[in-house]
């Protein structure tokens, strides 16, 4: 907060944008409030639940507590940006086919995470997947459908 605001450049979903939020503001708040990208959810603000997961240079990271300034040199992709990529669309379609959501609040973060796994050529074996997703909380119990969707996507990669 404060009057004098350094303008920060950020690459989000393939576009360079100028950010006027305080550089200490966690990325998720900037995405949601300044860029109106509300698909990135805040569940804890403590990097404990994964709802805020975005891609930073292709890696799935939590965005609810790390200041936006840290991401200045990285390419950010949010769930909204995934639809522009083939991998992202495949993952979203797999989630649709598996009907892998109940309330949906954890879903966007999981879609982003599974996309990162698909791009990294991660192991489609169920126990590996369970471990890979364990940073993401779901309280409705959509887990089996999410695993099914992830297996379908990662299995195609072979």
């Amino acid at each position: 907060m404060g009057k004098s605001r350094a303008v920060l450049s950020l690459s989000v979903n393939g576009k360079m944008v100028q950010i006027t939020s305080d550089p200490d503001t966690p990325l998720a708040y900037v995405l949601r409030n300044e860029l109106n990208l509300k698909g990135t959810k805040i569940g804890c603000g403590l990097e404990q639940c994964g709802a805020c997961t975005v891609l930073a240079d292709g890696e799935a990271v939590q965005s609810c507590a790390t200041p936006v300034a840290v991401f200045a040199d990285q390419k950010i992709t949010t769930v909204e940006g995934l639809a522009d990529t083939e991998d992202g669309r495949r993952v979203q379609e797999a989630f649709m086919s598996a009907r892998a959501a109940q309330c949906g609040y954890c879903t966007a973060g999981l879609v982003v995470k599974v996309t990162a796994l698909a791009r990294a050529g991660a192991d489609a074996e169920r126990n590996s997947l369970k471990d890979a997703l364990t940073g993401h909380l779901c309280r409705c119990g959509s887990h089996p459908r999410v695993l099914q969707a992830a297996e379908a996507v990662l299995g195609e990669n072979r």
């Binding site: 907060m1 403590l46 959501a101 954890c106 966007a108 879609v111 309280r139 119990g141």
Partner: protein, 705 residues
């Protein structure tokens, strides 16, 4: 039933802008009730699901169907909607017969049209529905349409938006001029705010933020969310609270055993204040106590609400499960006419019962009243949600049995004990509505402290699933309400059922084991309900096909019928116990009979989700607190089930289209908890009777064995 209050077809459905719009008072929490209602209408009226909408749920406009709870929505709103649609269908066919000058049996209802078999003349169903007379009464005997072979399928409502990050939750709302707000959460609900550093309030004011204080209720609002988050943290550190004697600490089960209880005999599932409280058995052959600690709802999204106060009227957008009751409680709290308070449901995350949604709605209204004509979006922090949401009461269930010569249970005595499950704001004696809103314990107001009354309804509260479904010849059942335990309790998915089912199904398992009989056969010996037998029989067949679990694993079985009148569920859990005491869930096989199925995938999703929530309760969840307040304040200090321990879950649905549709949202957690307990015994020989069965509990039991 809902049609008693809303007897007209037009109460439930109508055509707007060429689309069929359904009315309901039940809200979608991710349990897919709105999808189910659309499927019912699409089936009954043979219109495309894509042409059907569900109206938003708003006070003054929507049907008042009480609270979206108790697995009741399919049996209340769903059954009413089916009858309304069936009545409309009969009217539409008669109307078409008239217009086409044909006998009704010469008409085909298909794909959104009514077609004359002989002439192929067609009329669109939606066109006919738009002419429905406003006074057409629902025919309670209108037959459901035979849809065998032509089940409507549609993706769950909202799924597409969810996977694309475009589904709108309360948290995502924006309004011109809107301020973000946070509360400063007191260490306990009725803590007294002694002092807040005046310098900090002045500093925040310079930065364009405002502080709202009403007695000990304290909040901050401002245009920038992150600034408000930081301001709330700073203010929290600048407050001095008086917590009086603080929270009572120690073993909650000892507290509830020592305190005086209001005890009632429970007869046919209903507490009877006139009946003598039955005495314990003489020389029982089985006598154990099962305990469940305080647990949280732990919604993934902390609670939120958007409130605006203009011209003496409040509008609140909320994820509450009971907008009419909440409206009345808020209006009473603020001295407003109910008509001047409008609530509309907007999705939050899954809530699983009465979490902080209602409190957040009221608190957003308080902040909005201090900022007229300004929309206020209040969000709780994770710590606020964990620290302030109502908990599910701790419970202790004592169970005693005597057996006959055939090792079958002939006499049973059970007492279920705990605080209330009824903390939802809802009118009652001593202004029970306002008294159940957390902020009223802090505000300068004359709202009395809430004193719970025992819930005397059938299969409700503490005594939900207390009455075993088994045909024991002598059942003596007791409900014991112990108010004034340390934490504020309210309704969590399943209410008392998980603790009661754990006790009953552990006993059945132990007695089967003692008798040397397999657990399914032993249960069948005590069951007269043929549908229960069919569910267990199917599970037996599935397990026979699957073969035994591995040698180091254990398989636990449990059965329950939610509320003794809803969906029947049998569960088998295969699990292993690691050297560290951690329970690893391998495979869950579940069979359910929910009667006529509206949405097979939605039903399976509810049952799977219930298995995993039950597993989380069984293995992890308990609220820890100290004198100064709760200590379970995030996902590290309140562990829950995560992906790494998610088992394979196979759901099998049996049951007949000729039976009524039964509620299923709370059917699987109870038997899952019990099946895990029985699985731990099968794997280790240890009987655990106090939840959660985490690694510490397993190791402690092993050391004591």
């Amino acid at each position: 039933m809902s049609i008693d209050s809303y007897p007209l077809v037009a109460d439930w459905l109508g055509v707007e802008n060429g689309r069929l719009v359904l009315q309901t008072g039940k809200v979608d929490l991710g349990q897919r009730i709105s999808t189910a209602l659309i499927r019912i209408a699409a089936q009954e009226l043979s219109v495309p699901a894509s042409s059907v909408d569900v109206a938003s749920v708003r006070t003054g406009k929507s049907l008042d169907e009480g609270i979206t709870s108790g697995s009741n929505s399919i049996q209340q709103s769903g059954a009413a909607q089916r009858l309304a649609c069936a009545t409309a269908r009969e009217w539409v066919i008669a109307r078409a017969a008239d217009q086409l000058k044909a006998q009704a049996n010469a008409l085909i209802l298909e794909d959104g049209n009514i077609t004359h078999r002989a002439t192929n003349e067609q009329i669109a169903v939606l066109d006919l529905l738009s002419e429905l007379p406003a006074n057409l009464a629902i025919d309670p005997a209108a037959p459901a349409r035979d849809v065998s072979g032509s089940v409507v399928d549609m993706p769950p409502r909202g799924l597409d938006a969810m996977v694309r990050g475009r589904f709108v939750y309360v948290h995502d709302l924006e309004r011109p001029g809107m301020l973000h707000a946070r509360i400063i959460c007191p260490p306990k609900t009725d803590a007294v705010l002694k002092e807040v550093d005046p310098d900090i309030i002045a500093r925040l004011s310079e930065k364009g933020m405002s502080v709202v204080r009403d007695g000990s209720f304290l909040a901050v609002a401002g245009p920038e969310e992150w600034s408000v988050v930081r301001a709330a943290t700073a203010m929290g550190n600048a407050c001095t609270w008086d917590i009086g004697a603080g929270l009572q600490t120690g073993d909650v089960f000892k507290m509830m055993a020592d305190k005086e209880a209001q005890r009632f005999a429970v007869l046919q599932g209903k507490p009877d204040p006139a009946a003598d409280v039955p005495s314990q058995l003489d020389a029982p052959q089985y006598s154990e106590v099962f305990e469940r600690p305080y647990t949280l709802h732990g919604a993934l999204a902390p609670s939120a609400a958007l409130a605006t106060y203009s011209d003496g009227k409040l509008e609140i957008l909320t994820h509450s499960q009971g907008i009419y009751f909440l409206r009345d409680s808020i209006a009473d709290s603020l001295g407003l006419a109910p008509a001047n308070v409008v609530l509309e449901h907007v999705p939050g995350s899954g809530c699983y019962g009465h979490n902080a949604a209602d409190d957040a709605a009221f608190e957003a209204a308080l902040i909005a009243q201090a900022h007229p004509d300004t929309p206020i979006l209040l969000k709780y922090s994770r710590t606020d949600e964990h620290g302030r949401e109502p908990v599910s009461t701790a419970m202790a269930v004592r169970i005693e049995a005597r057996k006959n010569d055939a090792a079958e249970i002939s006499e049973l005595w059970m007492e279920t004990r705990g605080d209330t499950h009824r903390g939802r704001p809802r009118a009652g004696a001593n202004r029970a509505g306002p008294a159940r809103l957390a902020a009223n314990a802090a505000r300068d107001c004359d709202v009395p402290r809430f004193v719970p009354e025992p819930n005397m309804n059938r299969h409700a509260g503490l005594h939900r699933n207390l009455d075993p479904i088994y045909a024991f010849s002598n059942k003596r059942l007791v409900k014991a309400l112990v108010p004034d335990l340390p934490l504020r309790p309210s309704a969590l998915r399943c209410l008392g059922a998980p603790a009661n089912v754990l006790a009953i199904e552990s006993m059945m398992d132990e007695c089967a084991c003692d008798a040397g009989v397999d657990p399914i056969s032993y249960r069948l010996r005590h069951l007269e309900d043929s549908r229960a037998a069919a569910v267990l029989g199917k599970l037996h067949d599935i397990l026979t096909m699957a073969g035994a679990c591995t040698e180091e694993a254990g398989r636990g079985i449990a059965y329950a019928q939610y509320k003794n009148e809803m969906t029947r569920v049998a569960v088998a859990v295969d699990l292993t116990v690691s050297d560290t005491g951690a329970v690893v869930l391998n495979h869950v096989r579940l069979v359910a009979d929910a009667g006529r199925v509206v949405d097979p995938d939605g039903l399976a999703a509810q049952l799977e989700g219930g298995v995993l929530q039950g597993a989380s309760w069984a293995l992890h969840e308990q609220v820890v607190w100290g004198r100064d307040g709760r200590e379970s304040l995030d996902w590290d200090s309140y562990p829950v089930l995560r992906f790494d321990n998610v088992p394979t879950i196979d759901v099998t649905i049996i049951g007949s289209d000729q039976e009524v549709s039964l509620g299923a949202g709370e059917a699987s957690p109870g038997p899952t908890v019990a099946a895990i307990a029985n699985g731990i015994f099968a794997a280790t020989g240890l009987r655990l009777r106090r939840l959660p069965f985490d690694a510490d509990a397993v190791l402690k039991a092993a050391l004591q064995a």
